[in-house]
């Protein structure tokens, strides 16, 4: 029986911490797929830097989760030796990158989410979660700014770029709802004042998205996006996560404990 199937109620925010770590790791890993393939050198560097920030954030969360878990758990065993159904990331972050417009819009939705989430997580009664949030927020602020500028540039750009970001919106919007639907552990830790009540950040998130969309001459996407139930957070993923893990975990699975 894996950890995923045992419903342990405890004050230790292990599951919550893993959820935050998995979001950052999978998003960071997806963005890293652009390294060496960006549309121009500066943007290749930018997206690789953002990937690095996110993977760094996930390391901080994994290290803390490993400490909470004990029993020889390490950041590496959490990242490399869990199965897809044990990952607690939202579905949005595991979706394939698609074209530049889809990657940008996905990052914009996610950065806006992290921006408001970390602002609240700073007030967590858990000192370590608060410290990681404080550190990460500075970086996420840059991610939000960068992705916002790109959404505006693509939306208010050429006919082609506008068409592409609208296509991206059609594909991604349904996945945004999951961010604000709390999983069982998010509800539990929000009540303990350790975690954030995600439903409470939706207003700010909507406001920011509408503000940037207006500048980008994109239609306001309000009123949809709540169709998807809270799936990824509870370990029910798309087949895309399996493919990411196959790549990411290959080395540790083939050569356990390998270091370089």
């Amino acid at each position: 029986m894996s950890e995923n199937h045992i419903n342990i109620s405890t004050n230790q925010p292990f599951n919550y911490c893993l959820h935050l770590a998995d979001n950052s790791l999978i998003m960071g890993h997806r963005l890293s797929e652009w390294t060496g393939h960006g549309p121009m050198l500066e943007q290749d560097i930018a997206i690789s830097n953002i990937a690095l920030d996110l993977i760094g954030q996930s390391r901080n969360f994994y290290q803390y989760a490993a400490q909470l878990k004990g029993e020889g758990t390490t950041e590496d065993s959490l990242a490399y030796l869990r199965e897809a159904n044990e990952f607690k990331n939202i579905l949005l972050v595991e979706l394939p990158n698609g074209d530049w417009a889809k990657t940008i819009l996905k990052l914009f939705f996610f950065s806006t989410y992290q921006y408001y989430l970390y602002q609240k997580l700073i007030n967590s009664s858990d000192k370590q979660l608060s410290a990681i949030a404080e550190k990460s927020l500075k970086e996420v602020t840059y991610h939000l700014r960068w992705s916002s500028e790109w959404v505006i540039r693509l939306g208010d750009g050429t006919e082609e770029s506008n068409k592409r970001i609208k296509n991206a919106l059609d594909e991604l919007w349904a996945y945004t709802g999951e961010m604000f639907l709390p999983s069982t552990y998010e509800t539990e830790y929000a009540e303990n004042n350790i975690g954030v009540d995600v439903s409470s950040i939706k207003i700010d998130w909507d406001k920011k998205v509408n503000e940037i969309f207006e500048e980008a001459t994109l239609p306001s996407p309000n009123g949809e996006g709540l169709g998807v139930r809270s799936f990824g957070k509870e370990g029910n993923h798309t087949q895309h996560l399996q493919a990411i893990l196959k790549d990411m975990q290959y080395l540790q699975r083939a050569y356990p404990g390998c270091e370089w």
């Binding site: 500066e42 560097i45 930018a46 690095l52 920030d53 760094g56 954030q57 550190k135 500075k138």
Partner: protein
């Protein structure tokens, strides 16, 4: 005993001053402001460092260099602890450090990072010709902590150490 401990502490800080940032070899980790504290207890030394950026690959290198430098000076039991809070900001960089950056050709962080204003457009001075007529080429530069700028007067592109 207390005197001995103080001598050790002083010596350790002096050793730490010799350790440079692997990405920017002109400034020391003290200039950078990432060494939070040093504890000495008999033969045990604990150094507390704060990462500049979550994903900064230089941190592992810096930890190793601290360990090596202390070892070479006879401190065998060294523990390095990463401390995340309070989060590192560019405000912790010393004035001397900022000056060294400029001489090296990297524009030092402008202003304070206390509030969200660090995201507003800032006048960044060209480290080559000191013109303030510069423009942002990319928010992300050669490393996570830098942005890429270009001087409109001398046309030279340069790195800017972002205010965080």
């Amino acid at each position: 005993m207390i005197l001995e401990k103080n001598i050790s502490l002083k010596k350790i800080w002096q050793i730490l001053e010799q350790i440079t940032d692997p990405e920017i070899p002109v400034i020391s980790i003290i200039d950078l402001g990432i060494v939070r504290d040093v504890h000495v207890d008999e033969n045990n030394v604990e150094v507390f460092i704060t990462p500049t950026y979550s994903g900064c690959p230089a941190m592992d290198m810096i930890s190793m260099n601290i360990r090596m430098a202390l070892l070479q000076n006879g401190f065998t039991n060294v523990k390095i602890t990463q401390q995340l809070s309070p989060a590192w900001t560019t405000d912790w960089m010393t004035e001397e450090g900022k000056e060294k950056l400029k001489v090296y050709g990297i524009a030092p962080p402008v202003g304070k990072s206390i509030d969200q204003k660090y995201l507003e457009e800032l006048k960044v001075e060209c480290p080559q010709c000191h013109s303030k007529n510069t423009k942002l080429l990319s928010q992300f530069g050669s490393t996570a902590c830098k942005a890429l700028y270009q001087c409109q007067d001398c046309k030279e592109p340069f790195d800017y150490f972002k205010c965080h």
